[in-house]
């Protein structure tokens, strides 16, 4: 898969600190790319370099194989975390203005806006001012403005904050729609469940460095802890004794007749061996691998990278 955006050893220094310390990333064309990291890790700095609001001190960025330049501005859509609209300007008027700044002419802008306002059923807002809208309503308009000029590359910084669950779902579906049409989406968020639902790739930034990057399945695979949840009926002591060597019993809880245990494989044992060990002693009800959530991976990786330093 080719990369729509290739970030190579980008360094950004501010007066007091280094925001990006030689960051390299490949964002595959058509992916939904989760840009993750704790607050202050350097995500916003990276996004502002990609959107050409600021320039990197070192390193280079290729957009579709070409050095990133002002020519690419109109091909990008950006929804910043700190976002707003002119309070005293009518919604329709400022949407047209912002679309024109992205290179659309009046006709196209009006046509596109009409389409989206109808789709979101907000035609009646056209002549309203932002100060008359709720925060969630304004967010909806901002989302439309971001994708109005049909950019091939969209960066969304915390797109779901301020939305109720219904509207969050609406936006999510739009993103899936865009993904289907081949748009590359960079999603910066702290909501790990959105990452699980939407992202195909992720990068984790901590303290100005990329500490984890890749396809979300690979990332999950390589972060497997080989831990299984086993529900069984039978004697707890014989269950424990059976796991004496080669396995680690992390926890065991009794729920009446049924026990729920978490077991980790050690020394390269596989699941068949585990089952063979247990079958003579207890009756197994269910057996599932505990796949780490993105949230677990996030916390674990950050902690590891911090303890190394």
């Amino acid at each position: 898969m080719s990369s729509i955006l290739s970030i190579q050893k980008v360094v950004k220094r501010y007066a007091q600190h280094t925001a990006l310390n030689g960051v390299s990333l490949e964002i595959p064309t058509g992916s939904v790319f989760g840009l993750l990291g704790p607050n202050g890790a350097g995500k916003t700095s990276l996004i502002r370099i990609i959107t050409q609001i600021t320039a990197p001190d070192e390193g280079k960025i290729l957009f579709n194989g070409m050095p990133l330049s002002t020519l690419h501005i109109n091909e990008m859509g950006y929804l910043p975390e700190e976002r707003g609209l002119y309070k005293k300007m009518e919604i329709g008027e400022q949407a047209v203005y912002l679309a024109k700044l992205k290179g659309l002419n009046s006709n196209e802008a009006n046509k596109q806006l009409k389409y989206w306002f109808e789709k979101f059923e907000i035609q009646s807002w056209w002549n309203k001012k932002v100060e008359d809208l709720s925060k969630g309503m304004a967010q909806k308009v901002q989302f439309i403005i971001t994708i109005l000029h049909q950019p091939k590359f969209i960066i969304l910084d915390e797109p779901f904050t301020g939305f109720d669950p219904i509207n969050a779902e609406l936006i999510k579906n739009e993103l899936l729609e865009l993904k289907k049409s081949g748009t590359t989406i960079v999603l910066s968020t702290h909501r790990m469940e959105s990452v699980e639902e939407l992202c195909t790739h992720i990068a984790l930034i901590n303290k100005s460095n990329v500490i984890l990057e890749g396809d979300i399945h690979q990332v999950k695979n390589s972060n497997r802890s080989h831990t299984y949840e086993i529900k069984y009926k039978g004697n707890v002591i014989s269950f424990t004794t059976a796991l004496w060597s080669g396995y680690e019993l992390i926890s065991n809880a009794s729920m009446g007749e049924i026990n729920i245990a978490k077991v980790k494989l050690l020394h390269g044992n596989n699941t068949n061996q585990l089952l063979q060990t247990l079958l003579p002693h207890v009756e197994i009800e269910s057996f599932t691998e505990l796949i780490p959530s993105m949230s677990d991976i996030f916390i674990k990786t950050i902690e590891q990278s911090s303890s190394i330093k």
């Binding site: 501010y14 007066a15 502002r48 959107t51 050409q52 609001i53 600021t54 320039a55 001190d57 501005i73 109109n74 990008m76 950006y78 929804l79 910043p80 700190e82 976002r83 707003g84 609209l85 002119y86 309070k87 005293k88 300007m89 203005y97 912002l98 024109k100 700044l101 992205k102 932002v130 901002q142 403005i145």
Partner: protein
């Protein structure tokens, strides 16, 4: 380039369409016309006649004090204490008491005026003049000089100012033109500079700025805003000048008609026909004279320079106002940064009064060369025939000055406009300027 035009267009239209702009545009000239009409009206309104009792113990002023439209002298012979009571009872405005001293040189310091209210300066000087004239006449007579003869032979100097091309010039008109030009520039910088600042703050605080700077360069956004607002200002001024001219023409023609009516109506009553017609005629000729004076000011030069200094001064300060708007998080934080911008402006305005007295001195020269004060000070100096090289130097420095402040402001703007929740001081600003 196309995008900066879009920004200018938005900045311009969103302001021109505002109700406050339309209201101010129409209200401004009406207010100005109103002030003018009011001042004319009130000046004609003061026709209260104040009766002043004169108790002259030696009779040197008897029958000789001349009344005017606000003062009427009434001679009295009554007892001093009784007369004082009349004054207290408010029947008279005051009592002028000339004690029985025959030597004018001694008398001149002994004359008293008693009144409930402190008399106005015009009233005092009127009384002083009247008495002085009579005392002088006494002194002339005692020295054997005929006052009539003296009056006849007295000269009355009226220096005509001419420039080297031998054209008639007028210091009064020149001063007025320069001062008004300077005042307009001063107002324009403050009014519209503040608008630039508020516009930048609005974008920063409503958080729309990051959306916009992902489409255009921050510098373009700043420049677009400054230029757009300049055009709003120019539009408003042109409309104001047009409307003010219209309104004042109408108002003054009505007032003038009233006045002439009044004059002709009062003529038969006091019988001083000649004097009044003289007055009217005199007035007309003095208006002609003003026209002539204005005609002799280098109008085209002043007008072109006005436009240059008007825009140059605004651009110089507008960029700085934009930088302040970008640096702060709230209106209250602007104060500390406003002071260094306000000081040169106010200083140049204060200095202008001095410069009118000495338009070619070193103070005038330096203040009209330094870009931060030149827009106002040079405007004030300009009608006094400033050497061309000085104007050229001043304008060049002004252009360099606004390029410099715009560049400087651009740096502060770029960093500041995306910086939230940080208390900014001068040290911080310096870092932003140094950075990249």
């Amino acid at each position: 380039m196309n995008k900066i035009l879009l920004i200018i267009q938005r900045e311009y239209l969103s302001r021109v369409k505002k109700k406050s702009f339309i209201i101010m545009t129409f209200l401004g000239p009406i207010l100005m016309g109103g002030v003018l009409a009011g001042s004319i009206y009130f000046s004609t309104l003061d026709n209260e006649v104040r009766k002043i009792l004169v108790k002259d113990e030696i009779g040197i002023t008897r029958g000789k004090l001349k009344d005017d439209k606000n003062i009427k002298f009434i001679m009295t012979e009554g007892d001093l204490e009784m007369v004082k009571k009349d004054v207290i009872k408010n029947e008279y405005y005051g009592l002028l008491y000339i004690p029985p001293i025959s030597d004018p040189k001694v008398l001149q310091d002994k004359i008293q005026f008693l009144s409930k209210q402190q008399p106005s300066l015009t009233m005092l000087s009127k009384m002083t003049n009247e008495i002085e004239r009579e005392l002088n006449n006494q002194l002339y007579l005692s020295e054997g000089i005929d006052p009539e003869k003296l009056k006849r032979i007295k000269s009355n100097v009226n220096i005509q100012t001419r420039n080297l091309e031998n054209k008639e010039t007028s210091s009064e008109a020149t001063t007025a033109v320069g001062f008004v030009g300077g005042l307009l520039i001063y107002l324009f910088i403050f009014l519209y500079g503040a608008q630039v600042m508020r516009g930048v703050m609005e974008e920063k605080m409503s958080r729309i700025v990051e959306v916009i700077v992902s489409s255009v360069k921050p510098f373009e956004l700043m420049l677009g805003k400054i230029i757009g607002i300049a055009m709003v200002g120019l539009t408003q001024f042109i409309l104001w000048i047009g409307l003010t001219f219209g309104v004042t023409t109408v108002v003054s023609s009505i007032m003038m008609k009233d006045k002439i009516d009044q004059v002709t109506r009062t003529v038969p009553m006091n019988g001083a026909l000649d004097a009044n017609i003289d007055d009217v005629v005199k007035k007309n000729t003095s208006e002609d004279k003003i026209d002539k004076m204005l005609a002799n000011i280098p109008v085209t030069k002043v007008l072109i320079c006005f436009l240059i200094y008007f825009l140059g001064g605004y651009l110089l300060y507008g960029a700085l106002f934009a930088a302040i708007g970008a640096a702060v998080d709230s209106e209250t934080d602007t104060q500390q940064f406003m002071i260094p911008i306000t000081i040169p402006l106010i200083l140049s305005y204060i200095v202008s009064a001095n410069i009118i007295n000495n338009p070619h001195g070193p103070l005038a020269f330096w203040f009209s060369i330094i870009p931060f004060t030149s827009p106002i000070v040079m405007m004030v100096r300009l009608p006094f025939e400033v050497p061309v090289w000085q104007i050229a130097l001043s304008i060049s420095l002004l252009i360099i000055g606004f390029i410099f402040t715009t560049w400087l402001a651009g740096k502060i703007y770029r960093t500041g406009v995306l910086m939230y929740g940080k208390k900014v001081n001068y040290k911080e600003l310096w870092k932003w300027i140094k950075y990249s």
